[in-house]
Subunit: 209 residues, 4 copies
């Protein structure tokens, strides 16, 4: 309302408050970690009362989970668009890597929450099944599978293992970047190296084609 900056058309603030809360949570979780974050801080940053948060989310836990779901879904959607523009596994993999590591710059708060809080969440939040994240890994695995079908990628590799492996590698690089301001991997561009090493490892050399 008064806070609505968006000019033009007037309406369209449906879910606007929910999104403001998610944005505030993203920032506060990034800054202090899930446990260090106080609901009050998130509320204040979102410009709402504490109680308002509970109109949109069941609990602080649910807020974190919803943040994951929402953001990872966005990432998945973006990735689907990006991947759709390429046919070959090689190019897809490169784009995937660049996009994921690019989060560190484009959305450091989100990157931090994912790299740090996602891990514990799966274990310590009772019965939480991170559907969107499984989808995310599935996208990566699909690249591998398609590449195998197309003869680009070695057949002797398990897509699920490789996607986990690659995700872990990327996530750790992301984290390393975020934590130490030493951009130790920017010089030769870490993402180039990672892509290069992985692709060389995955590539079906001497195969038919």
């Amino acid at each position: 309302m008064a806070q609505q900056a968006g000019g033009g058309a007037g309406g369209g603030e449906v879910g606007e408050k929910r999104e403001r809360i998610l944005e505030a949570a993203e920032e506060v979780f990034a800054r202090r970690g899930f446990h260090g974050a106080r609901v009050t801080d998130i509320a204040r940053l979102a410009g709402v009362a504490d109680g308002t948060i509970y109109l949109y989310f069941k609990s602080k836990d649910d807020l974190l989970v919803s943040l994951f779901e929402d953001r990872v879904e966005r990432i998945n959607n973006m990735l689907r668009i990006i991947l759709a523009s390429e046919q070959r596994a090689q190019a897809r993999l490169e784009k995937f890597i660049n996009y994921y590591l690019g989060l560190a710059v484009k959305n450091p708060n989100l990157a931090e929450v994912i790299a740090i809080e996602l891990r514990s969440s799966s274990k310590f939040m009772k019965e939480y099944k991170n559907v969107k994240f499984i989808e995310f890994l599935g996208l990566l695995a699909q690249i591998i599978k398609d590449g195998q079908t197309a003869g680009e990628i070695r057949e002797d590799l398990t897509p699920e293992v490789i996607s986990r492996t690659l995700f872990g590698a990327l996530d750790e690089l992301l984290l390393g970047y975020l934590l130490s301001r030493r951009r130790y991997y920017e010089a030769t561009s870490a993402s180039e190296q990672v892509f290069n090493v992985f692709w060389t490892g995955l590539e079906n050399r001497g195969g038919r084609r």
Copy 2:
């Protein structure tokens, strides 16, 4: 072990209580996570009074940090022995990977604490510089460097980037193993695949030698 003083009179169990506390912490942290773990639980499991923990550790934070230091040091020592028995980067890398992933079976509690808590600790524990962990990464980087010197590994890769990358990959596999009891990577042996992909990616093909 090295801390065992053994001394003259009576018990000769200096440091024994400290170790009992660390072992209890390892288990409780693994089971409930750092934040979910209560000092009281650790004390009870260690068979000491709550206050006793504070005779050996400054705080709960310090207990976690000390656990990391202690365990990662052990891992480093073990790795040094293992790596010393091999000359070639290829064999060393293979052993490193096998050893690290083997933790999931040999010491699941520790593996869990490392895979889950190590991440947040570096960010949220005030001024904590995880020396032993840096050493651990250094061991891995050293394998790469030595391999490059020996002409086994491509020169165009930054050892720090590659060691991070590999560590991330391994850590994620470890975590995936620990969380889902689907040993999705045991079938074709995930560690074999990881080693294979990485080595193929790192290997200096057509170099001198």
Copy 3:
């Protein structure tokens, strides 16, 4: 009833919403107690918005008080009719007892609210003077007084004490019935026993003395 305005145009259901709210409150208070009851629940059950309740009642406290006033007034009106049909204290007392204990069956929700919440209300609701309830006790006291005047009941008893005593006895029986589904007093008909004991105790034996 008296509040029914009935007026000219439209529905003619003035006060209908108020009554719906009271009925909902009766049920929710009975089920969860005054403190356990949420205004929201009452609103939902009444089929109105939360805010609507505050158009008819000043506060949740006022809602409880109004419920008492309304229901106890109804009871009083009913009792007046019943008592008017009898001349003798003995018969009146018997009808009073039967009517009051009969609430457990005819209107268990109301019975529960009266037996449980009425007690605390008088003490903890600031400056609440339960006029209707005092009237209710007055009806009982009047039976005694009339009986004394008529020589049916011993002169040495204080009507106010006896009415309190009898009310307490009945209320406790009501409560016992409502809480335990053991109808321990239905067998020989508790109400018969109570009437019998009390009447024997009150009766003016051997003439005026």
Copy 4:
């Protein structure tokens, strides 16, 4: 310690803190009711920290329940002594009534908590079975039973019904006394009247004997 007023022998403060908390709870519950009472107030009045209460009681609910158990047990013990000194039901009943109503003077806080909070507790505190209170009612029922066996009391009355009835009567009188400072029943001594009415009602007239 410093707070230990008790002179002489030095030791003996076992459970002293628990008892201090119970006493504070008794007073605060009496003054503000269970729901209006804040744990902090009880702690302050008891001279302990908030957390200390939770070393002795599981929750605020448990504190109320424990208070009931403790106090009603005391009452039961006292009653057993009193009743043991009399053989006849008549005298026992009289003493019972006098003792119970005497609580209003000797221990008004306790009387208030019992008269007001005991009622709701049985219904709204999940799975609370008030053993001591059942015992209390049992004592009263036993007087009736014994009286029937001895031929003092009419055989056609159900002890459980009568004991409930009598208890309700007494409790209501207690409450009336506590709430209104009008001692409307002190003039002719309410307890005398109650005893008189009940005894006349219960007495086995014209029976053998």
